[in-house]
């Protein structure tokens, strides 16, 4: 049974049964093939459709290049995910919703609260589409609203290790984002690991000290003791071998008393070290990295 193009009927022609079977019966059966007796299309199968290619359909999900819809939607390989971008762009998506807002990666937690992570800058001016989102290594990566690639880190501490876990799996658990690292098996948790190094102040103050010494004034006094040479008289008696008389008289003399006296001037060597205070203060600093999500009011 095949389709025969309908003929143009003309008056005054006697059509026999062959004509009617071909033009009416067979052609009607062909037209009826894909329809039920009630006139509806029987099924979307190759028995009734020469092609089942649905690429022309609208309002259905059609995989882009290399994106694969499987039991678990897999966007790996050449697949890509682009998140909504903008202020509260995904807020109305409810728990599990994610989006990029400014520099931040936002999500709505299991309880409906909005959180955001500020990813560490990876590449400024990334060529990636704003909102692009993927798992790379152990981290979540995304392209922010300015086109910069950023990453948020997680911790495997407290996460499960399941050999069958597929890399790139992504979900919200409790308050935080959870994922399976690129190579699979290990769960990472976008954690509340906020650490702030306490600011510290290194301060030491040298005790002020004053070096003072005073040389005591001293007086060196010495006095030469005056001495007096006692006058002496040399007397002798001439002998009288010859009568002559030698007479002389030694002049008495007196050593003049003298007094050597010197006085060291008192002196006052005095120096005073200027008191000083060594004081340095390390500026307090807070090492705060933004691994931790912030609860968005």
């Amino acid at each position: 049974m095949v389709w025969t193009p309908p003929i143009t009927w003309v008056d005054d022609v006697v059509y026999d049964e062959d004509d009617l079977n071909e033009q009416l019966r067979d052609n009607m059966l062909i037209i009826k093939l894909a329809r039920t007796d009630a006139g509806k299309i029987v099924a979307l199968t190759s028995a009734y459709f020469a092609s089942l290619d649905g690429s022309n359909l609208t309002n259905v999900a059609k995989p882009g290049t290399a994106n694969v819809f499987t039991a678990k939607n897999v966007f790996s390989g050449a697949g890509r995910i682009v998140l909504p971008v903008g202020v509260d762009a995904g807020l109305d998506g409810g728990p599990g919703s994610r989006w990029v807002e400014g520099d931040y990666l936002h999500h709505v937690d299991e309880g409906g609260d909005e959180w955001r992570y500020l990813g560490t800058l990876v590449v400024a001016g990334s060529p990636g589409i704003e909102g692009s989102y993927w798992i790379e290594g152990n981290d979540e990566h995304y392209v922010d609203e300015d086109g910069d690639e950023r990453r948020t880190i997680g911790t495997s501490s407290g996460g499960h290790n399941d050999a069958a876990a597929v890399g790139g799996s992504l979900w919200i658990e409790g308050d935080y984002s959870h994922w399976i690292r690129q190579s699979g098996s290990v769960e990472f948790i976008g954690h509340a690991d906020t650490h702030s190094d306490s600011s510290h102040t290194d301060s030491h103050s040298d005790t002020a000290h004053t070096d003072t010494h005073n040389d005591n004034a001293h007086n060196d006094n010495h006095s030469d003791v005056a001495h007096v040479d006692s006058a002496h008289n040399d007397n002798h008696g001439d002998h009288t071998d010859f009568g002559h008389a030698d007479s002389h008289g030694d002049t008495a003399h007196s050593d003049t008393a003298h007094a050597d006296s010197h006085n060291d001037n008192s002196h006052g060597d005095s120096h005073s070290d200027v008191a000083h205070v060594d004081s340095h203060t390390d500026a307090g600093h807070s090492d705060s990295h933004g691994d931790a999500p912030e609860l968005v009011p």
Binding site: W3, T8, A50, L52, L57, T58, V60, W99, S169
Partner: protein
């Protein structure tokens, strides 16, 4: 060529060629448009379907609001959303 509603034939009616052409030839051609010669619908396209809206289909992935599945799955734009699973250990295995 356009569809002509089928007439109700009456007794003693003289059926003319023009009647048969309208009722049989032309209407069959209309009914045949979407079909190939073995009776199957040729393709799911605008030539054969007045609407390609698949929103009533079941068992297929359908878009929520403005999500666009392109070469890069785009959940952006007005109303686009990506909502990931919520709960404990929801990894794929």
């Amino acid at each position: 060529m356009a569809w002509t509603d089928p007439v109700t034939w009456t007794a003693d009616q003289l059926v003319k060629a023009v009647d048969l052409n309208a009722q049989i030839r032309d209407n069959m051609l209309v009914l045949k448009i979407a079909l190939d010669d073995d009776g199957r619908i040729t393709a799911i396209d605008a030539t054969r379907f007045a609407s390609l809206d698949g929103s009533n289909l079941t068992g297929v992935a359908r878009l929520g609001q403005a999500n666009t599945y392109t070469a890069k799955q785009d959940y952006g734009g007005a109303g686009g959303r990506l909502v990931t699973p919520v709960g404990a250990d929801l990894w794929a295995t």
